[in-house]
């Protein structure tokens, strides 16, 4: 704790200084120079190059053939050419893999290419995605398994829970939903619609109620009705607010208290999210012991490559992916399919 004080002191002093300097430099306002609205910076968004055409960078031809067919025919061996390297880098960056993971892939490729460029990239990416993806459905004897869903706003937590509830019900389980998002207006209504559709039980409270108490009540209901599993929703929260993360910590504690047992904490991530997903994962891992990721909205043009960085750096595996609106569009994550779609043109 030695350095803590110094940091605190610096923060305080720096804040004061900022405010003071600002108040000091207030002078009569000069109108900002009015520049003409800049033209569109980019006329044409470049199409993703394909991995086996070194000149794709220059020609930017969108290819119509399936890249996977061509991958199988690839026979590039030995060292990577400068152009090939650029193409690989571009493909990976455009998939939101991030700068450091992209560099890690390139470093591996620099050690020699044996399976063709695309094949080698595929191999390296699959190597990064090597965690166990099993989901726990059973708690210790006498306890009720709880799946807790966490994430930032607007990633599709409530929808994901609705779809998973349907899956569980279809597999013959008795499901209780806990509408723990007591913050967003009408979030509980949204979950209630899903509960009705899936014929699952739901426990809800009024808006602004304590989320912990909702989950507590849900566990009570689950115990009384001998439910097989509780799926607990939480309010979307940004990952850089200590108070909200503390609240989440508490919610998890409540859910994990006898008779409940949190067997999965699933972080719901939106595939369109960029590098911020990594810090989201880091914060939620620290606050709620995340055991897996649900990657939603993969049916758009976004690739969701940031999950590779998350699995590589934080060891959190993706367990489910959402590829559409329908219930059956929420699927178990298959690394091979995911990598193929990352590399597809």
């Amino acid at each position: 704790m030695t350095y803590v004080l110094v940091v605190v002191a610096l923060v305080v002093v720096a804040l004061v200084a900022l405010v003071v300097v600002r108040s000091r430099t207030r002078r009569p306002v000069l109108a900002p120079p009015v520049a003409p609205l800049p033209e569109v910076l980019v006329e044409e968004v470049a199409a993703r190059p394909s991995l086996d055409e070194p000149d794709a960078l220059r020609t930017r031809l969108a290819s119509s053939r399936g890249v996977l067919d061509r991958l199988r025919n690839l026979s590039g061996e030995g060292a990577l050419s400068r152009e090939q390297r650029d193409v690989v880098e571009e493909v990976l960056l455009r998939s939101d893999l991030g700068v450091s993971t992209t560099r890690a892939v390139l470093e591996q490729l620099d050690q020699g290419v044996h399976l063709g460029v695309a094949g080698e990239v595929r191999r390296v990416l699959l190597e990064f995605l090597d965690r166990d993806r099993g989901v726990r459905l059973v708690a210790d004897p006498g306890r009720i398994p709880v799946w807790l869903f966490v994430g930032v706003n607007g990633v599709g937590k409530t929808t994901t829970i609705g779809k998973l509830a349907q899956h569980h019900v279809d597999e013959g389980r008795h499901v209780v939903l806990a509408a723990g998002d007591t913050f967003r207006a009408a979030a509980a209504d949204q979950l209630a619609l899903w509960a009705e559709r899936a014929s699952a039980d739901i426990v809800r409270a009024t808006e602004g109620a304590d989320p912990g108490s909702v989950i507590h009540d849900a566990l009570g209901r689950a115990g009384a009705r001998h439910a097989d599993i509780v799926l607990a929703d939480t309010a979307g929260r940004r990952a850089n607010n200590t108070n909200l993360l503390d609240e989440l910590r508490k919610v998890r504690r409540v859910a994990d208290r006898d008779p409940g047992q949190v067997v999965e904490t699933l972080l719901v991530l939106d595939a369109t999210t960029g590098q911020n997903a990594l810090s989201q994962a880091r914060e939620f891992l620290a606050a709620a012991e995340v055991t897996g990721i649900v990657l939603t909205k993969l049916d758009g043009t976004a690739r969701g490559g940031i999950v590779v960085a998350i699995e590589r750096e934080l060891g959190i595996p993706v367990k489910f992916v959402g590829v559409g609106e329908r219930v059956e569009d929420l699927r178990v994550f298959v690394p091979e399919d995911f990598v193929d779609s990352l590399l597809a043109p």
Partner: protein, 492 residues
């Protein structure tokens, strides 16, 4: 993972500094760092390339007659270019001569359209208009309900009915006209850009209502995909501007630049929180600093003003300057700062902070802060005012009372003594003794936004400080010393 661009360029600058003028090789090396910074901020690759070309042009043409180091020259060029691209001329909202003015909101699922719709209504209300909300999002379960609840909370009527989105929108605008409302905001269903039927639907709504403004609501955490989204919506709706949401996340927000880069429309509003009130006109300079990782002094100050109790701060700060800073003041300050969020997050916003300090700050555990609080609260008021009275037995009592060890109490007291000394030095030397960059950034921030008033408490504080000795040159010695103390978390 996110290194500030300034850090990166500093590493480069050993080779750059020796020469006054940037050679083509220097520019290449510097631009490579800029490229990484932009990519880490989620700026789309094509946009990055176009952007770097523009910066290169600026740099090659730049004269050497400045006092800036080459590294600073690069940052300045990038910063200026960012601001220019992000919208030197903000969109001025004008109203239709024949009301109502129709505003259409479109965007992907989860971008925050519904909240933005309510926030926008609130904003128009604050401008003295009578807004009317139309919930044409009939896709997401309970979306209409959400808008109704939000509408209630801000006192704006919401129209919807379970028919089809196009007729809801048309009827909504018609009703607004009959009711004499002058602004209608139409919330549409979230959709995926590739989804042709839904895209056709929003197009039909647009045709039916002929909106005066069509805003794309885009999420600041979006990655490389932002360009596709923006382009798809622009192609079918011809956007008039962008609304950025979730700027309160610690994302760099490069998506804003990506979207801006492909549609050429300005970012008009930004939402910085989930509450309807966290919504304001967009400031390009702020996001420019963020994208570069230069810290966001303005946001920091605003957050400070919003959450800190100005009286408490001013009070203990003036005592701090006069050397009478007590543990009680320290506790008050600590609580004020903790209200603002995590230390790591704050440090990220703070400009001119070294990487070591940032790391140290993000390692600060809440529990350790709790411990400090417990120790101080276990002291009597007299002990807090005058730690000198703390003998062995008192320390043992405090340790027991706070559930810590005597060792921890000793450490805290020792650190507090050092901190006091440091602050006294700073007070004696006046504020400019702070790291030079920090002061400069604050000045930049000040220049960028002079219109807002500083609360009385802070003003008084400023006056008190001005009375101290004025403006010595930034002292590198002081800065170094502080950095050195922070880095090694030696004894634990």
């Amino acid at each position: 993972m996110f290194d500030a661009l300034s850090d990166r360029l500093e590493r480069l600058s050993a080779s750059l500094r020796s020469r006054g003028r940037l050679s083509p090789g220097d520019i290449d090396a510097a631009l490579e760092e800029v490229r990484t910074a932009l990519l880490e901020a989620d700026v789309e690759l094509t946009v990055v390339r176009a952007f770097l070309d523009a910066v290169r042009t600026r740099l090659v043409g730049a004269s050497l007659a400045t006092s800036l180091t080459p590294g600073q020259q690069v940052i300045k060029a990038v910063h200026e270019q960012l601001i220019e691209v992000l919208g030197a001329t903000p969109l001025k909202v004008t109203y239709a001569s024949r009301p109502p003015t129709v505003v259409l909101l479109a965007g992907l699922q989860g971008a925050g359209k519904t909240t933005a719709a309510a926030a926008l209504a609130q904003w128009f209300k604050a401008q003295g208009r009578q807004p009317y909300l139309v919930a044409a999002d009939l896709q997401r379960p309970a979306a209409v309900e959400q808008l109704r609840v939000l509408g209630d909370s801000i006192g704006v009527d919401v129209y919807s009915e379970p028919s089809d989105p196009v007729s809801v929108a048309r009827e909504g605008v018609e009703r607004a006209r009959r009711l004499g409302r002058d602004v209608v905001i139409v919330d549409t269903a979230g959709r995926l850009a590739v989804d042709a039927p839904l895209m056709a639907e929003v197009r039909a709504i647009s045709d039916a209502t002929s909106p005066h403004y069509t805003f794309l609501v885009i999420d600041a955490v979006t990655g490389q995909d932002a360009v596709h989204t923006a382009r798809a919506f622009h192609d079918s709706l011809s956007l008039s501007g962008l609304i950025v949401t979730k700027l309160d996340y610690d994302a760099r927000g490069g998506a804003v630049l990506s979207a801006r880069g492909v549609v050429g429309r300005p970012v008009v509003f930004a939402s910085t929180g989930e509450k309807v009130g966290d919504f304001e006109l967009f400031h390009p300079d702020r996001i420019a600093s963020r994208i570069l990782g230069m810290g966001d002094a303005l946001s920091l100050i605003e957050r400070a003003e919003a959450t800190m109790d100005a009286d408490v701060v001013a009070n203990s700060a003036s005592r701090l300057m006069s050397g009478q800073f007590t543990l009680e003041d320290f506790l008050a300050q600590l609580n004020q700062v903790r209200k603002m969020g995590s230390f790591g997050g704050l440090m990220k916003l703070m400009p001119g902070v070294t990487k070591e300090m940032r790391n140290a700050a993000s390692n600060v555990d809440d529990r350790e802060l709790n411990k400090i609080e417990a120790i101080i609260q276990s002291m009597t008021p007299r002990e807090r005012r005058d730690p000198a009275v703390l003998d062995g037995s008192r320390r043992t009592r405090i340790a027991a009372g706070s559930g810590t060890s005597v060792n921890a109490v000793n450490q805290l007291l020792k650190q507090f003594g050092e901190m006091k000394k440091m602050m006294r030095q700073m007070a004696g030397g006046g504020m400019p003794n702070l790291p030079g960059k920090l002061g400069r950034a604050a000045q930049m921030a000040a220049r960028a936004d002079r219109s807002r008033e500083v609360p009385a408490g802070f003003e008084a504080l400023g006056a008190g400080l001005r009375a101290g000795s004025p403006a010595p040159s930034p002292s590198g010695k002081n800065k170094k010393k502080k950095g050195g103390r922070v880095t090694p978390p030696k004894q634990r």
